[in-house]
Amino acid sequence: MNKLDLDKNTILRCRISAKKIADDIHGFINQHTTVSVERTVCRLLGIDGVDELDIPIPNRLVDEIYQAGNLGKGISVYIAAGLKLYDNSMARFISAFTAGEVRLSDLKLLSEQEAENILRSQFNKTLAKIKLNKGIRKELQDKYPGRETKLYVIVATGNIYEDVIQAKAAAAQGADIIAVIRSTGQSLLDYVPYGVTTEGYGGTYATQENFRIMRAALDEMTEKTQRYIQLVNYASGLCMPEIAAMAAVERLDILLNDSMYGIIFRDINMQRTFIDQYFSRLINAYAGIIINTGEDNYLTTADAVEEAHTVLASQFINEAFAKQARLPEELMGLGHAFEINPEIENSFLYEVAQAEMAREIFPNAPLKYMPPTKHITGNVFRAYMQNTMFNMATTMTNQSIHLLGMMTEAIHTPFMQDRFLALENAKTVQGALKMWREDIEYKHDGIIRSRAVEVLNMAEKLLDEVKDSGLFKALENGVFANVKRPYDGGKGLDGVVKKDKDYFNVIANRMEAELSED
């Protein structure tokens, strides 16, 4: 549908700039790896578990090579060597390693070809599992397609079992998508916690076991409700690709996975983030997991009217990075948000303009639309009204992934009743405005169309500038969310390693190859 009549050429020029921006970074990405990328390789080779100090084995393995200054070769070849030593038994190799019986650095390295041969049976198992998951997901989605605009709510009790109670109630009430929010602080951990967890702050730790428990609960609800209930977690922070790998194995459906969020909102080093995001997205592409980008966050620190174009510019950049990672448009859940101060005159018109614009510029993307948060106060009734307006904007502009606003947004992570009321609000609005979008037109030169044109033009200009300065510089200058980050600052830079000439990543190679075939 074309309601805004935006200029196709401007959009094309934005895409060209964004591609150039991402390509530049991609040159850098190609030359580097990170501790997280290599740990991910371990995980996809089937290595899991923790040692007696609760340190994950992937961290133990990668850290040893890193300390030895050899991570530029990639972990793959070391694992292959270890496996060879232990007759291709991963279990024996790992137990010898943790027992200190073997040091990776002492291993005799193999050729890439031999290493790959040895590793093949390991990664084949994991990749087969991931493909199986993809198949199951597709089957369930075909069987239980559900509504077009999916209703998304979060659980965040800190205790995975409590989360399950809340998630099941939400699904029973009509939620299509459940996200388990992470505990504060997890994104800055340079490892992924292990096992079931029942303590977290503002969210629940993302662990593979927690993923498994929630997936099982939601599968149960899928059958009960006859709607495929999707599961979401976060592949952001210092462990982007590792979480993507765990999610692929446990059949998560959506991951928050932005190319720049960690830089801007978690002060994670930009080099680190760009390298990590590439591999995490490659895995998502392989596993059929929808990514969600985080442009909505910009509007929590920057003004939603003034900085609207930065959201659009960032969407183009996220799209360009996603394409490099071979993600099809159908998996690009670009983010935006309803964050204009409702006291501003005509704010609703601006919101609709922005949402419709995103819808029309990215017609195949499962757009993620975030609710008002910044201008929500403790007046829960007012919040419920703001959420009604937001729900109406969503339906009027046919968004895909509809995050529900909570009336207690300004107070606490959602209670069961908050979620119930949010779902009721959204369901009612969806029905009452079902054909609205088909029924109305925006006037030529009206506020809505003019606003969309204005934002698009500003985004074009910004992309053009960023193209010239380079994205690293743009981030240093605080182009997004009004936040400035130094090239060498932030967390996790020490985990970035320049690839050696003989660097070898058995998983990336395989995934890239397979995805390029498609």
């Binding site: 409590e162 403790g378 007046n379 207690t408």
Partner: protein
Amino acid sequence: MKIRPYGDTMSDGKVQVSFTLPCLADESGIEAAKILARKMGMNDPNVVHVEAIGEGFSFFVVYGSVIHEVETDSIKVEKVETPTMSREEIEAIIEAEFDRDIIFIGASTGTDAHTVGIDAIMNMKGFAGHYGLERYKHIKAYNLGSQVSNEEFVRQAKILKADVLLVSQTVTQKDVHLKNMVNLVELLEAENIRDKVLLIAGGARITHELAKELGYDAGFGPKKYAEDVASFAILELIHRKKRVQ
């Protein structure tokens, strides 16, 4: 079993409360709201919103955990114990047990002008897909409309020889319904016909418990339809008939 409110952790006791106080929306006002919340049993109340709402009043929203528990094992509720039958079952049972039609009269009594509720129960077309009493075979249903005085209602009950009296009450402000409902019982007693009829009340704020308390035989609130009241009435009439024999 002891239960407490549930926010996001079993038995966390979380409740949401809002109210208006005749005070300013300042620190002292907030403290007053907290004191009130504590008196209501909320631990550590969180005044999440305060706003002046004009001329010396302030509006508060409070969240917190109540210390109270409810023991559910000992809960006993007055509820209509007879099962709800279908229209066809009710018609069949009247046919089997009585050799005459059963007479219902209904009205929205006193100064109450709300008829939608009593119409929902009585009118042919019924409500929300449930046919009304007028459509039942072997039931004669007289709907007297609204703002019918209790005197007039009793007079009609006698003239029409009603078996069942249906009283609808919607306006409850200043407990006007209670006064009106009690007055009807008194009139029926004065006329010596209270025990000759079934007296049934209904309305959005009417519960069975309340109706019993006021001397009615039953009370029906929201989401009750003709078949609920007819089932109760017919089974109760049969029961009474048998008791007399």
